[in-house]
Each structure stands twice: as C-alpha cells, then as structure tokens.
Symmetry: C2
Subunit: 317 residues, 2 copies
C-alpha cells in the first residue's frame, strides 16, 4: 500500500492506493495556504494519520508516501517554489518523515499525473510518453523508460513556457509567445473575449453567458463551437493550431510513443482530439513514418492521488 | 578497438578509434552519392577493410563499427531517409555485416557527434546533455544517462524544426518559424542579405565580399560584428536572440545539465558564447535556480568518427 497526496491551492486530497492503482480510501481537507506552511504541513501529517487509522491498514504496510505539488522540489525533498501557496525552500520531506516515519517522495503535480497515466491510464504499455495538462496554464509530465523525468536541476517539463510564436498578450512569466498563452483554457478564453471585443458579437458564446464576457469559460466556447458557432470555431481552431505546434515541437524533440491530453481543456473530449489529430497529420515532419499517438488522458481528478502514490512506489522500489 | 564512420554528402571518413577516443588511424574517400547506394556501400566496406589492413590491427580486435549518417535509421539498422544522398529504406547494417562480419550500429550524425562530446568532449562528466550543431541547418544530439536518445520511432532530436516564432522566409520543410531558420549559418546569412537589400549598405560585410552578397558567409558576418560593424551586429543579435529562445525551450523541457554549441556557427567561439550566456541569464525562467551550462563543443570534424566509434562501443556493451 502507498499513500498519494495531491496538494492543491484549494484542497489537500490524500488516498490509500493499492498496487493496482485503486484508491481504497481517501480523505481531503482545505489547504488554507494563507496560514503558512507549518500549519499546512501539520494538516498533511494529520490527514495521513487519519487515513491510516480510518482505513484500518497496518502502518507498516504503508511502504511510502508520494506527494504532488503545484511547484518544484529538489532531489532532497525540499520544495523550491510553490508560487500559489507562497512556499519557497520548505523542507517538506523532512517535516513529514520526522513526524510519520514513512519515506516521502515529492514531485510536480503534472509530472505525478503523468505517472498515473503511464502506470494505469492513457499511456499504459508505452515505453515513454508525455501528459500535457491543459488547464489555466499548461503542465507537462514526462515519463521515460518507466520513470518520471524531471531534468538535471528538477526544472524540466516546464512545457507551458516553451516559446512557439508571437501572441497578443504576454505570459504571467513576463515573456511573449509561451505555449500556455495559446493552448490553455486561459488562452482560449482571452482569444474569444478579444474576438467579441473586436465586434464579433453574433455568437452563442455571448448568449450562454448572458452577455457577460467575464463569465466565458473554455466549456462555453467548446460547446458553442460544437453547435456550429463561427466565433467559437475561430477560437477553437486557433487553440488547435498552436496546440499542434506545441505537440509538433515535442515530437521533433523527444519523439515520445504517446502524448496524452489532460486538464480542463481536454474535457472537450473526442471533438478536440479529432481536430488535433487531423491538424497533426497535416503538419508532421516525416509524413510516412509512425509518430506519437495522441490520446485523451483517462484520469480526471484522481490522477493526482494515484500518481503520487506511484511516485512513492517507484521511490522505494 | 572500434571503427567509426562519418558518412557525409561529400566524403566518407573512417577511423580506427581506441577506448580512450583517440583516432589511431583514419582514411577517407569521396562519397559520389550520384552513383547510387550500392556503390557507396561497397566503398564503405572497402574503406573498412583497408583501414584494418593498413593499420595492422587484428580483425577480431575490432569489436564494432558505428556509422553516423545525415539522416534517419531505424532500430534494425535500415536507413529510413538520407535526403542529401537520395537514400530511402536502405538495409545498410545488413549490407555491411554480410560483407564485414563485424556488428554495425547506425545513428544520425548530430546524435553521434553528441556522443563524442559526451564521452570525451564538452559534455564529459555530465549525466545528460545536448549538442546543438549550428550549421547550414540545426541538428541535435541528445545524451541521457550515458546513452544516445533517439525517441520511440527514431525521429527524435529534430531540434532544428522546433517552431519558435514567425520568420520572413519559410523553412525547407515547408513550415514557417523553424529554429534553424533563425539560428543556423543559413539563417544569419539570409538575414544579413535582407538587411543589405533593404538599404543597409554601409557595412564591412559588403567590403569583405567585394560587394557580392551571394558570397556572404557566417564567418564574414561574425568577423564584421567583432570589428564593431552595426549591420553585422544586428544580424548577430538576432541569431543570439532566437538561439537563446531555442535553448530556453530545451531547458524548460528537458533541463539538461549541459548544452554544447557545435557546427560552423560555433566557430565564432567565445564571442558568440558570451553573447548567448548573457542573453540566457536575462531570460531564464527560474532566475535563482541553477540551469544548464552552455559551452562550446570541443570537437570539430573528428566528432563524427569518434562518436560513431562510441556508438559501436555502446552497441556491443
């Protein structure tokens, strides 16, 4: 048995996970990050203890704890950055191991979700693969030969900040042209808002949000596009074009066996997947050679817990 | 002992290489690719036999032959493409092993050069690294944990076709915005020619080529920039800007320990390296974290032979 923890900006979700990736018991608590890291980590430790107690598992049967964080950790288990939580240089592993006496392993949340897809989901059976989490930003989880790949300094798979063009707005990171400014939910919302502000007001998008463009979300845009709305289709086409440029760059660089699309944008499902595959086939460099399969991620919210548990499993293996 | 072969569009260079990466004997012959692959491969086999005979090495002491090709090979040793040689689906390994009875290993020439830098050159002592060959195009040689990385379908490390912006001319591959249209020798030449055609004629570049813009090469531009020429400096600055965007994308994705700059453009030496490092420091995402070291490749022409020999060494290891 392993414990997987998904540390998010809103909630801390923890689960007891068996060897087959099944969550046998789970529990969560609000993060309340404004309290500071000491209280948050105390709550993580409390959650682990409750999980063990309430699930009636023997403590010695819990081989490891994995934790996915919305940031970066170094190889010694220190959190280098967690911007959303306001954490910097926090000895998370030590503060958990000292209290719990179970080995703790830490990695980025997208990386951990990639591991869940690799072990039991959309990348199962592949030698290597990449999960793209298309949410408010874009994260990447790279799995090579069965192990998560985090790079030489723990800062790899920051795929969202790969520069792929020139855009009408700058990224949060200060640069222009980042992948996530073209192909995240934030990106498609901003572009739809731009189109509407430029006068394209005859659109179902506006109907669905009662004329309030601040209420536009990715689902509204994809739903409108599926219904044949022209403005929505322009926004979707642009997202697809740049998503495929990003995929194309990944393929030209790493040539993975499979690329899985996850995160909120991937809720557009087969509709999005088919557009992406079509655009990819049109654009791939070696037309006659096999290239990465593009698939939808299989897990939604559970990827964080399951992947973190597997990080623990790999860690003590 | 290993034999390394650098199969180029103009020459076939072969060398007998010892365990320490030293070329103890070498020999070359013109490729004359117009003859067709059978004659070229017959000449490769002849070259290997002559190399063994003339160097007085025992045939059984040659453990393997490695060959770097300007194209792609599959895992069974078939050349999938070699555009410059006009080769497609050529059973190179079989045609060599049948004749020579020594194991043969084949990979892309930039990949093989990366292996030479990894074993004995600029990436020595690193766990992973990437060689960028900045020539008429841009090639990439990725080494991960001591092994060359070619991807799941043998088409990885095509870094030159990573899309990083919008450019004033299209790439040979048909796309716009490929890395190699911004940061190769071809790229800087085209941009300098563009500047001159647009009226920037007060430049040392033109003096050095006696007014014939067709004679401009990368060296002329870098030499002029070093002498303080403004037009040349504009061309160099643009190359550096986009080279760093490409490096930045590689760092955000793979986070390698070291990135080595090779190929003709890297002959600009420390002058180029310092500009690149300065631009990289200004632009890196995690300002306070260590990131890839950027260095000049150490080998010039010998990387092909030495790297190929090491490919053979790894192959039979």
């Amino acid at each position: 048995m392993y414990i997987g923890i998904d540390l998010g900006g809103t909630n801390i979700a923890a689960g007891l996970v068996d060897e087959t990736g099944k969550i046998v018991y789970s529990k969560s608590t609000p993060t309340l990050s404004a309290r500071g890291y000491k209280d948050v980590i105390a709550d993580i430790n409390k959650l682990v203890k409750e999980l063990i107690k309430e699930s009636n598992v023997n403590r010695e049967d819990v081989k490891a704890i994995g934790i996915g964080i919305p940031g970066l950790a170094d190889k010694d288990g220190n959190v280098i950055f967690c911007v959303n939580l306001g954490w910097e240089n926090i000895p998370l592993r030590k503060m958990m191991e000292d209290e719990l006496n179970i080995p703790v392993f830490i990695d980025n949340d997208a990386t951990v979700a990639g591991l869940a897809e690799y072990e039991f989901g959309a990348m199962k059976g592949s030698k290597n693969g990449i999960l793209l989490t298309l949410g408010t930003g874009i994260g990447g989880g790279i799995v090579l030969n069965g192990e998560v790949y985090s790079g030489a300094h723990g800062v790899g798979s920051e795929i969202g900040h790969m520069i792929i063009g020139e855009n009408f707005y700058n990224c949060n990171c200060g640069k222009n042209g980042c992948f996530e400014t073209f192909a995240s939910s934030t990106a498609i919302i901003k572009y739809a808002q731009k189109l509407i502000k430029e006068g394209n007001t005859d659109t179902k998008i506006l109907e669905k949000v009662n004329g309030d463009i601040e209420k536009i979300n990715a689902k509204v845009i994809f739903d409108s596009a599926k219904e044949g709305d022209k403005v929505a289709k322009m926004a979707v086409d642009r997202l697809v074009k740049y998503l495929v440029i990003g995929i194309f760059n990944i393929v030209n660089f790493m040539d993975p066996e499979v690329i899985a699309l996850g995160g909120g944008v991937s809720n557009a499902g087969e509709y999005l997947l088919n557009l992406v595959k079509e655009e990819f086939e049109k654009n791939k460099y070696y037309k006659t050679l096999p290239a990465a399969k593009i698939v939808l991620a299989e897990y939604k919210n559970d990827a964080g817990i399951i992947g973190a548990a597997m990080l623990g499993k790999h860690g003590v293996a």
